[in-house]
C-alpha cells in the first residue's frame, strides 16, 4: 500500500516505521525538519517538509495515488482538515484522523472520516487495567466500548453450555479454542476444562461478566 502520514510526532513516526517495516510505501509530512529525527536511520520512506494541507506538499507526498492517509499532528482541527482534503479532493480510500476531543471525534465520524480518540481509548484502557486486572482484554474495539476478552474455562464452568454466559447486547462468547483449534460455538456447546473463550463484552458489562465467570 501507499500511505501518506501527516505529522511526524511520536505516533506519526512509529506508525511510519511500522508500515515501512511491513513493506508499505510511506511518505510522512511535517513542518519541522527536526521531527524527522524520530524516524531513526533505518526508515526507508519519503520525508516531506511542509505544511500539511498545502496542495503542493500533499501532491509531493504522492496523495494522488495513495491508498491510505492518516493525520496525526498535535492539532485536532489540522487533522480533520487534512483528512477531509485527502478524502474530498483526492478520493483516498482509507482516511484516518486522530482527534483528542472525543465529542469532536463523534461529530467528524458524521463527515465520513474514521477518527480515533486516544483520550477515550486511553482512559477506557487505564480504567480497565485498574478495575479489571483479572480479565485480560485482547482487543479494544471502537474507542474501547467493546472489548474482546480471553478467559480459560475453570472447573466452575465445565459442563455448562457456553451460551449461558451470553447476555443480549452486552456479552457474547464469540469463539472457543479447544486443543489448539478455534470454532464458533452454537447454542448448547458444552465447555470443557482448559477451553479458551474469546468473549465480546461491552466495557460497561465487564463487572457483570466477572460475576458470571466467577472471577
Amino acid at each position: 500500500m501507499e500511505v501518506v502520514i501527516m505529522g511526524c510526532g511520536r505516533v506519526g513516526a512509529q506508525l511510519a516505521n511500522l508500515l515501512s517495516m511491513d513493506g508499505h510505501k510511506v511518505s510522512i509530512i511535517d513542518m519541522d525538519t527536526k521531527s524527522f529525527n524520530r524516524l531513526g536511520k533505518s526508515f526507508k520512506g519519503e520525508k516531506i517538509l511542509g505544511f500539511g494541507f498545502d496542495r503542493e506538499v500533499l501532491e509531493k507526498a504522492g496523495i494522488e495515488h495513495a491508498d491510505a492517509f492518516a493525520s496525526v499532528t498535535q492539532g485536532d482541527n489540522r487533522n480533520i482538515i487534512g483528512a477531509l482534503a485527502a478524502k474530498r479532493e483526492y478520493n483516498v480510500p482509507i482516511v484516518v484522523a486522530r482527534i483528542y476531543d472525543p465529542i469532536r471525534a463523534l461529530v467528524y465520524n458524521k463527515l465520513g472520516i474514521t477518527t480515533i480518540s486516544p483520550t477515550s481509548w486511553g482512559a477506557n484502557k487505564i480504567k480497565e487495567l485498574i478495575c479489571h486486572s483479572d480479565v485480560s482484554s485482547q482487543l479494544s474495539l471502537g474507542n474501547g466500548e467493546v472489548e474482546i476478552i480471553e478467559v480459560e474455562v475453570k472447573s466452575n464452568l465445565v459442563g455448562y453450555a457456553s451460551d449461558k454466559i451470553n447476555v443480549p447486547g452486552e456479552i457474547m462468547v464469540a469463539s472457543i479454542t479447544r486443543l489448539g483449534r478455534a470454532f464458533v460455538p452454537v447454542v448448547g456447546t458444552i465447555m470443557n476444562e482448559g477451553d479458551l473463550l474469546h468473549i465480546a463484552v461491552a466495557s460497561t458489562a465487564i463487572p457483570q461478566l466477572k460475576r458470571i465467570l466467577g472471577v
Binding site: 498545502d54 469532536r104 461529530v107
Partner: protein
C-alpha cells in the same frame, strides 16, 4: 438576521460592529480570555468566551438559529472547521469565511460548505496588479 461570528480579532470585531450598526443581532465567539475581557461593549453584540471549533460551544452560542455563520479567526484550519460544523446543522446557515493564507484558498469552496470566502491578501495583490497594468 442572527449572525454568529467566530474570532474576535480586528476583523471579527469590526464585522460585529458593522453588522450591529445595520440592525442585525450578533454573537461573537472568542477563545482567548484576555481578548474577551477587553472586548468593547456594543449594543446588539454578545461576546462568548469559548472555542468556536467546539460543537458544544457553537450550540450554546445558538448556531441552530443563526442565519449566517462567519469564520473570521486568524487560522484557516479553524475557519474551515467552523464551516464544516455549520453545514452539519439542519437550519443550513449561510457560511462565509476569511482565508488568511492564499495557499489555503483551494479548500474554501462550495463543496466544503462555504458559500463565500475572501482572501484579503489575494484581493490586495489583484488591486496592485490591476494598477500596474493600467500604467
Amino acid at each position: 438576521m442572527n449572525i454568529l461570528i467566530v474570532g474576535a480579532g480586528k476583523l471579527g470585531t469590526h464585522l460585529a460592529k458593522d453588522m450591529s450598526d445595520r440592525g442585525h443581532k450578533v454573537k461573537i465567539i472568542e477563545k482567548n480570555e484576555e481578548v474577551c475581557n477587553k472586548f468593547e461593549k456594543m449594543s446588539n453584540v454578545e461576546i462568548i468566551c469559548g472555542d468556536g471549533c467546539d460543537p458544544l460551544v457553537l450550540e450554546s452560542a445558538g448556531i441552530k438559529i443563526a442565519d449566517v455563520v462567519a469564520g473570521a479567526t486568524g487560522d484557516d484550519e479553524d475557519n474551515l472547521v467552523v464551516a464544516q460544523l455549520a453545514k452539519l446543522q439542519t437550519n443550513k446557515p449561510r457560511v462565509v469565511a476569511i482565508i488568511n493564507h492564499p495557499r489555503n484558498e483551494w479548500l474554501f469552496k462550495k463543496s466544503w460548505g462555504i458559500d463565500a470566502a475572501e482572501s484579503p491578501t489575494s484581493i490586495i495583490s489583484k488591486l496592485i496588479e490591476e494598477d500596474i497594468d493600467k500604467k
